[in-house]
């Protein structure tokens, strides 16, 4: 089983559009949307939900006002500023650690399970899909990403598939770490802009930190050819393969509006040909990675 994680560091570089196009090009993939904070892949893949599970990964403190004597012990010991001056817990700030519960001399604090979101098992026109929705303001997106990946692996086994395509989260913190650790390889979608190059370098060092193979695709490459060259030479120096360059074309947006992948929306367009070539290069990389491990 192979697992390719599409990430970007910076948001809005075309990560989801490209992940969806790969899902359309690969024969019989399993798809996982690990951008649980702001998932978008379902808007292109139109999953039919087969199963929903509640995701509970943490607790939240609740103070019983009839038992509370306002002694202030919980407020003093809470390091997350979650206890308001009126001894009501702010669930947004609460990390669910339970320090207040053990600090309270009057047993007024109770820890309750907290619903962080939902995890879905679905069917799409390309294959099975695991995805999720994190509720607003919730933490634990890392744990949720890990759960979505676990589900995708189970789906791969039960349906005897070989490849998982993961649409990863932006950034480099817990959710991204949870999305890439233990995967076969990462595909970083970048664009030739000063901010995106800054973010690319950080996300590439994250892959290096966890020693995970990685490759790069430059989206909107002709927006700034000089910056695209800069990305190429940086990657060459670091021995990271650049597996494709895609043109800047508003047809991307049109396909999104139509709720389709580029491959379906404009099969004969240059972009679709480029994506096909991209997938061939990615496949070669994945093969050589699996041979060397």
């Amino acid at each position: 089983m192979k697992e390719l994680v599409v990430v970007s560091g910076k948001g809005g570089t075309g990560k989801t559009t490209i992940a969806a196009a790969l899902a359309a090009l690969v024969s019989e993939p399993v798809v996982a949307d690990c951008d649980v904070d702001a998932p978008n892949l379902h808007l292109l893949l139109d999953p039919k939900v087969q199963d929903t599970e509640e995701f509970i990964a943490a607790n939240v403190a609740v103070i019983d006002p009839t038992l509370c004597r306002a002694c202030g012990a919980c407020e003093l010991n809470c390091r997350f500023g979650a206890i308001g001056s009126d001894f009501v817990v702010d669930p947004i700030m609460c990390e669910g650690c339970g320090v207040c519960e053990v600090s309270c001399p009057y047993n007024a604090v109770q820890m309750r399970e907290r619903l962080s979101g939902y995890i879905y098992t679905s069917k799409t026109r390309f294959g099975p899909m695991a995805h999720a929705l994190l509720l607003a303001g919730e933490s634990n997106s890392g744990k949720m990403v890990a759960r979505v990946r676990e589900l995708a692996r189970t789906l791969t086994e039960t349906t005897e598939k070989e490849l998982i395509i993961v649409d990863g989260p932006p950034g480099i913190a817990c959710a991204t770490i949870a999305a890439i650790t233990g995967s076969s390889a990462g595909l970083v979608v970048t664009e030739p802009t000063v901010p995106a190059i800054h973010d690319l370098k950080r996300v590439l060092s994250l892959f290096q930190h966890f020693t995970i193979p990685v490759m790069v695709v430059i989206n909107k490459a002709d927006l700034n050819l000089r910056k695209s060259k800069e990305i190429e030479s940086f990657c060459k120096e670091k021995d990271i393969p650049v597996v494709g360059q895609l043109p800047y074309d508003p047809i991307m947006y049109k396909a999104v509006v139509a709720g389709q992948t580029i491959i379906e929306y404009a099969p004969n367009h240059q972009l679709s040909t480029n994506l096909q070539n991209l997938w061939e290069k990615v496949e070669q990389q994945l093969d050589s990675i699996s041979r060397s491990t």
Binding site: S8, G9, K10, G11, G12, T13, D37, A38, N40, L43, N59, N77, R79, F80, I92, E95, G96, C97, G98, V99, V102, S103, L134, A136, G137, E138, S139, S141, G142, P169, P170, G171, I172, A173, C174, T176, I177, E191, P192, T193, V194, P195, H198, D199, R202, V203, S205, L206, H209, F210, K220, L223, N224, K227, Y248, P250, Y253, V256, V257, G259
Partner: protein, 282 residues
Amino acid sequence: MKIAIASGKGGTGKTSVAVNLALSLRDSVQILDCDADEPNVHTLLPLTQDQIQPVFTMVPEFDETKCTRSKNCSAFCPTHAIFVSDQGITFFPEICIGCGGCILSCPSQAIQEGQRQLGVLHQGMTAPGIEVVYGELDVGEPFVVPVIKAVKDQAKNSEGTVVLVDCPPGVSCPMVESVHGVDYCLLVTEPTPFGLHDLRLAVDTVRQLNIPIGVIVNRAGIGDQQVFTYCASEDIPILLEIPHSREIAELFSEGIPFTQRMPDWQSKFRELFQVIQEGIRK
């Protein structure tokens, strides 16, 4: 006055809006870049002098000689970061959330408060009248929220200062931490189904915090009309539309804020600021 610039979806133009608004106001502005995973403000507005300081989180420090193997700490630890055996104590700092519960639960005062670096804070002027503060999470560290808090702690509270908070994407805890406590929230979106989907999530989140909202539509002209229909039906004002333009995109690619080359836009951003002020007073 504190204004957050947020969005559910990444790459809609938050940073561009924050930077161009700052350049248009030009005086007594402070930008707090809270996207400590991938801070970008300084790539458009380089700091002339950069003061750097580390950001720490609390971690326990164990004194093995005092430890009586009660195992109270490991029983308490919500993330199972501590493992106590007869041979000694094993501690996994990268999963410790720094709650301090282990210190409280130790019967023999064998645990002290130590610290561990999570990232750094940068602070400096970028132009006369514009200060930039940004956090930078160390690569490989999972917990970004303490770095965001360190950035927000630098917010100027003086009456005349306009504090612009550039938020991380998404709607989970880092975004909420960044938006928390501001007077107004600008949500930047693009008129596509992706933009609309994530805008809805962001609106639901910011409404829970009781903060007034205004929307900026970036890349207007691409996509469809649904963002406009949604905002009208939810009674959310659209304060500014920035057209889809190759010229703006090319300037951005070079790291140039577009108002510097298209000065007419500065008055539009100043008008935007007036409308926000009225929105806060309401």
